[in-house]
């Protein structure tokens, strides 16, 4: 009649006539009657042995246990749906029966259709229940075993859930934490504040901290404080407010972050210094030139008789003092110890002030600079830091070109919400396998295969620091290269902050 496995039914009734009759009916309906029992005790034993899918259970039977007692025992060990089939519908039976969660309560004499429908519903419900339980188990397992502390509190702010993650982070076992007020794992000085915040959340049913990641100090069992990064969820189930807090100990990560920041700042500083020394040679040259122009024209002014010649000579002197002053001003950016803040600036301007410092050196190496500037929006950057990036880009391009002459093409353009500055050189290029390494600290090829006779050995920090700076600005640096053809480094800076400041 039905496909596949037949469902196994066990019939428990003390009246033989009744069980025989039911047997026939059930078999006819397409079920397999795997066993019969005529007392509570017998039903328990047989259920264990036969493992039926459904039990049809009479209530009033002779012996120590009636059907309800027997059901209770069976439910302790086995997960079998039980349907009561009884002649009694008194309140006291129904009330007792409810306690064992029966899947049906049928009054004798029940008609076959009713029995069949009840069995089918019971089988289906049991099936759904098992699937649901599996799901619940899966999530319970997940929540318990993730490395994050997961803590729930009720509307009295007492802890109602405490997973393994919380155990290992805080040091309290679940039984030590459950039922305790949440604030017992907070340092005293912030307890009041935190409670106030939670009360506010209950009241308004929302909070500024919901969904955000908060970092505050919490307390371990041993009394030590640690930085706990967590987020709060707030929900209501049956009019009861609940908070769930998920978080982790970030002390170590903080230390690593701080250390990384410290190393970066040191590298930045050393890069500034090496920037100055890279520039020193070229700038000395440039200054000698300027001094020559000035002193020569002063000498001329001294011996010339014509007033307009004197005037002209002095004008030239003045103009060149301005040029010298500009170089000094740009140079200052590198030696500044304090890192100043960000300001809106025209990228081409910032680029030009770097180029002004490198001009002499590039000229000496016979490298020409081709500018392909397009108009762009202003970008909010730290000017001094951006100069380090640009200097690095130009110095690298120059070193890649080496002692022979070449070209550096600098492009500025706006692509979507980014300002892009690209540096293309006609240098030796970078092998594909090394492309991924160029931004790593201390990676350098200079001093070994790089540069001409006066190339300075590289520190291997230039691109690392540049990348860090650009990243701090929310941007990226991309590199493309072809061996013997040259490389292109593209600095992409977002304009996001500009838009904000314009509002």
């Amino acid at each position: 009649m039905r496909k596949g496995k037949m469902h196994k039914i066990m019939v428990v009734d003390d009246e033989a006539v009744m069980t025989t009759h039911l047997d026939e009916r059930l078999t006819w309906m397409g079920y397999e009657v795997v066993g019969r029992a005529s007392s509570g005790v017998e039903s328990i034993n047989k259920a264990k042995r036969l493992k039926p899918d459904v039990i049809l259970m009479d209530i009033v039977m002779p012996g120590k246990l009636d059907g309800i007692d027997a059901s209770k025992k069976i439910k302790e060990d086995l997960d079998i749906p039980i349907i009561f089939l009884t002649a009694y519908a008194d309140d006291k039976f129904v009330k007792r029966a409810k306690d064992v969660y029966p899947f049906g309560y049928l009054i004798k004499p029940a008609n076959p259709d009713e029995i069949k429908a009840t069995i089918e519903v019971a089988l289906h419900k049991k099936n759904m229940e098992r699937r649901l339980n599996k799901l619940v188990d899966k999530y319970r397992f997940l929540v318990n075993n993730i490395n994050y502390a997961t803590i729930s509190v009720d509307n009295h702010k007492n802890i109602t859930f405490w997973n393994n993650g919380a155990e290992s982070i805080f040091g309290y076992a679940a039984n030590e934490a459950l039922g305790k007020p949440l604030i017992f794992i907070l340092p005293e000085r912030i307890r009041e504040e935190y409670e106030k915040d939670m009360n506010r959340m209950v009241l308004r049913r929302k909070s500024s901290v919901i969904g955000k990641v908060i970092e505050i100090f919490w307390l371990r069992k041993d009394g030590s404080e640690f930085l706990f990064e967590h987020s709060l969820a707030f929900w209501k189930v049956n009019k009861v407010s609940l908070f769930t807090c998920i978080g982790r100990d970030i002390t170590e990560r903080k230390q690593v972050d701080e250390e990384r920041e410290r190393i970066f700042m040191q590298s930045l500083q050393s890069e500034k210094m090496s920037g100055v020394s890279t520039l020193a040679d070229g700038i000395a040259h440039e200054f000698n030139n300027l001094l020559q122009i000035m002193s020569g024209h002063i000498e001329l002014a001294k011996i010339t008789k014509e007033p307009e010649d004197i005037e002209e000579a002095l004008d030239i002197v003045l103009k060149n003092t301005e040029r010298a002053a500009k170089i000094v001003k740009n140079l200052f950016a590198f030696s500044k110890q304090k890192v100043s803040g960000k300001e809106l600036c025209d990228i081409t301007e910032s680029l030009e002030s770097t180029l002004l410092l490198t001009e002499a050196k590039l000229k000496e190496q016979n490298i020409s600079v081709v500018r392909k500037y397009k108009k762009t929006s202003k970008v909010k950057v730290n000017k001094a830091e951006m100069q380090i990036v640009f200097l690095n880009m130009v110095t690298n391009a120059r070193d890649a070109i080496g002692p022979k002459s070449g070209t550096i093409e600098i492009g500025v353009r706006q692509v979507g919400k980014h300002v892009e500055v690209s540096f293309h050189d006609t240098g030796k290029g970078i092998e594909e396998e090394n492309l991924s390494k160029v931004f790593e600290p201390f990676y350098t090829t200079k001093g070994t295969i790089g540069g001409g006779q006066d190339s300075t050995p590289g520190t291997g920090l230039g691109l690392y620091v540049s990348y860090g700076i650009v990243q701090k600005h929310g941007g990226t640096i991309e590199v493309e290269s072809e061996v013997r053809k040259g490389s292109t480094f593209t600095v992409k800076l977002p304009m996001r902050e500009v838009e904000k400041s314009n509002k």
């Binding site: 030139n289 122009i293 020569g296 000498e299 030239i316 002499a360 000229k363």
Partner: protein
């Protein structure tokens, strides 16, 4: 000041104002001065006319100055070439000996006093 004889002088420097400075100064001494902003132009001028003295800046875009020096000496071996430089020649011994070998007679280290060059104009 005793008048010396008038010389043909060429100044080669990519800085316009350096050229101007030489031209003005040397004109006061009544020399005939020409200037070139590039090595290419300098070579062209040397081919056309004899110059007693060429002041040649060592760092210029285009043809490397060392090649310019070589070409000038080849075209006009008797021309005295005085190399002007913003670099410290003492530091860069290799470069200065190479320049001497290629025929540079003197070095002028920027910044110098214009009075200094008068010594060579006899």
């Amino acid at each position: 000041m005793k008048k010396t004889k008038s010389l043909n002088i060429l100044v080669v420097d990519d800085e316009k104002e350096i050229c101007r400075m030489f031209t003005k100064w040397l004109s006061l001494e009544e020399h005939r001065v020409k200037s070139a902003l590039t090595g290419k132009k300098a070579i062209k001028l040397v081919k056309k006319k004899y110059y007693d003295i060429v002041f040649l800046d060592i760092i210029m875009p285009g043809i490397p100055a060392i090649e310019v020096l070589e070409k000038i000496k080849k075209i006009s071996p008797k021309t005295k070439v005085i190399v002007i430089t913003g670099k410290l020649m003492d530091v860069d011994k290799d470069l200065s000996s190479e320049l001497r070998q290629k025929g540079a007679s003197e070095f002028l280290q920027k910044p110098f006093q214009m009075k200094e060059i008068n010594a060579w104009l006899v």
